[in-house]
């Protein structure tokens, strides 16, 4: 598995699978955001990943890194909100870290994603435990050492583990204790990101 070499087409398939998952789950994500946020996370990501799909179809980049940089830039330019810059930075930084290699192995992807996740924490001044997307992203990247399926599972578990947390960052933090008992929408969409990765890798 650590011998896997992933090409640009794989990354395009990944982003396309994320777009499909977000389409499917948009209402659910908005529902989650409506409980402890402002009821737009689903439509935000739907708008963003639809634009990503269009951008990648129009001019498919030649390298894995370029695919993610394009995806990240597109998210920044079309999503807005907190998740636009954060998800955008995640993908852009991951892509930049991958450089212009034509193919990347699992270890390189993990290093890239680690850099991306660190950039998210830096941009958002946030850390795992704050009840944000980091609670899914961080364990997922760690579990990537055990393969795509393990990463997807860790992301899902991380997202579900946000339910009992009190939010310290983002809009949900305004609710104080009332944020407890709800799953973080950004963690839930991060789990979709890794589920899609596992799906296209299968």
């Amino acid at each position: 598995m650590s011998e896997t070499a992933l090409d640009a087409a794989f990354f395009v398939r990944w982003m396309t699978a994320v777009a499909a998952a977000v389409d499917r789950e948009a209402d659910h994500l908005t529902e989650l955001d409506s409980a402890i946020g402002d009821a737009d996370h689903g439509s935000n990501l739907k708008r963003g990943f639809t634009a990503v799909r269009t951008a990648l179809e129009k001019e498919p980049p030649a390298t894995p890194g370029a695919v993610l940089v394009t995806a990240g830039k597109t998210l920044v330019s079309t999503v807005g909100g907190a998740s636009g810059p954060l998800f955008g930075t995640l993908l852009r930084r991951t892509g930049k870290t991958l450089g212009d290699a034509e193919r990347v192995g699992l270890g390189e992807l993990r290093d890239g994603l680690r850099a991306g996740v660190d950039a998210v924490g830096q941009l958002g001044s946030s850390a795992p435990g704050d009840k944000t997307m980091l609670d899914a992203l961080d364990p997922a990247v760690t579990a990537l050492a055990d393969g795509f399926a393990a990463a997807a599972e860790a992301a899902g578990a991380g997202s579900r583990a946000t339910v009992p947390l009190q939010a310290r960052k983002g809009r949900a933090s305004y609710l104080g204790e009332r944020s407890i008992g709800h799953e973080d929408p950004g963690a839930a969409s991060s789990a979709l990101l890794f589920a899609a990765l596992a799906e296209v890798a299968r």
């Binding site: 402002d38 807005g80 907190a82 636009g84």
Partner: protein, 328 residues
């Protein structure tokens, strides 16, 4: 809802602004609203923006004496950096640009990215965060106080300073002074319905109200049994006054959330004044109306800004926008 489809709500509204306000340049495609005479030579340019759904904020505050440009995002979603970069290019006269940013993670991040990109293109950018909502504890365990009603005070007063020709550092300092002198607190009597969701963002049984709500349809800090206008004014004014402890006369904004009738809002304003008198706070000016709304949310907020003679003079200075207009 009086809409076509959720996806086109913001673009449709911008087309409407364009036909109603020939004094504005409305770029529907790129979502930028600019005063027609921009860039005004030698003048510091003010740019604000944020999620849509708070109208007349911000597009309704573009014009002489207030903003040079506004960048509307999707409903309750902060705009993307491209919008602010484009706006900065359209309004910068060389005297620099001031970004007025409501303190939400999304707004902060998108405006920060925009500032970096605009500076890459040679524009001098300063930014001021508005964070006036005392319902939110300002600690390292939150994203900090939200920006709400004080945005109007900041845009108006800093806008007047810019219109008079003050340099960027001065306009920025005035904006910071207004932020520091302003506090808000809001209540909701019914939640709002966003076009994307199509149903109320939270469930508030009639006979109950939410204290300490923000302007994005999020629930507040506490749910209570319905209170009278007088009782709500007491809770609201006390929350603001206890935090601000004003020593100077205040500007008072009694702001409607969207669906509360102006008739009720005026009645509430009377109770707010009554409570301010109880608390021995002197009132310099009072503004009553729907200025920083949350779509069709029912409820109201109170913002106080304590002002010295100079801030009061800038508040009274002429303003010519769709949403706020006096003098000249």
């Amino acid at each position: 809802m009086l809409i076509n489809v959720a996806e086109t709500v913001v673009a449709d509204a911008l087309r409407g602004m364009a036909v109603a306000h020939p004094e504005l340049v409305v770029d529907v495609e790129n979502r930028v609203v600019v005063r027609r005479d921009a860039p005004v030579a030698g003048k510091v340019a003010l740019i604000s923006g944020g999620g849509s759904g708070h109208e007349p904020l911000h597009g309704g505050f573009v014009g002489p004496g207030m903003l040079d440009a506004a960048c509307p995002g999707e409903v309750f979603t902060s705009p993307v950096p491209d919008q602010m970069v484009r706006a900065a290019a359209a309004v910068d006269s060389g005297a620099g640009v001031l970004f007025l940013v409501k303190n939400y993670t999304g707004d902060v991040l998108n405006f920060r990215m925009a500032a970096e990109l605009a500076e890459d293109e040679g524009v001098t950018v300063a930014s001021v965060l508005v964070d006036d909502d005392v319902a939110v504890t300002d600690s390292t365990f939150t994203a900090g106080r939200r920006g709400t009603g004080a945005t109007l005070f900041v845009e108006k007063i800093a806008g007047a300073a810019a219109e008079e020709g003050a340099p960027l550092e001065r306009v920025e300092a005035v904006a910071r002074q207004v932020v520091g002198a302003s506090r808000s607190f809001g209540v909701a009597l019914a939640a709002c319905t966003t076009p994307a969701k199509g149903s109320p963002t939270f469930d508030l049984p009639s006979g109950q109200l939410e204290l300490g709500v923000g302007i994005h349809g999020e629930p507040g800090r506490e749910r209570r049994a319905m209170m009278t206008s007088r009782e709500i004014a007491e809770v609201t004014v006390d929350a603001v006054v206890d935090d601000l402890r004003p020593e100077l006369p205040v500007l008072v904004l009694v702001n409607g959330a969207g669906a509360t009738p102006l008739l009720e809002l005026y009645g509430f304003a009377a109770e707010v004044h009554r409570r301010l008198a109880d608390r021995e706070v002197a009132v310099a000016r009072t503004l009553v109306g729907d200025y920083v709304t949350s779509l069709d949310m029912a409820g109201a907020s109170v913002t106080l800004c304590q002002v010295d003679d100079e801030l009061l003079r800038l508040w009274d200075a002429p303003v010519q926008t769709a949403g706020l207009r006096w003098g000249r």
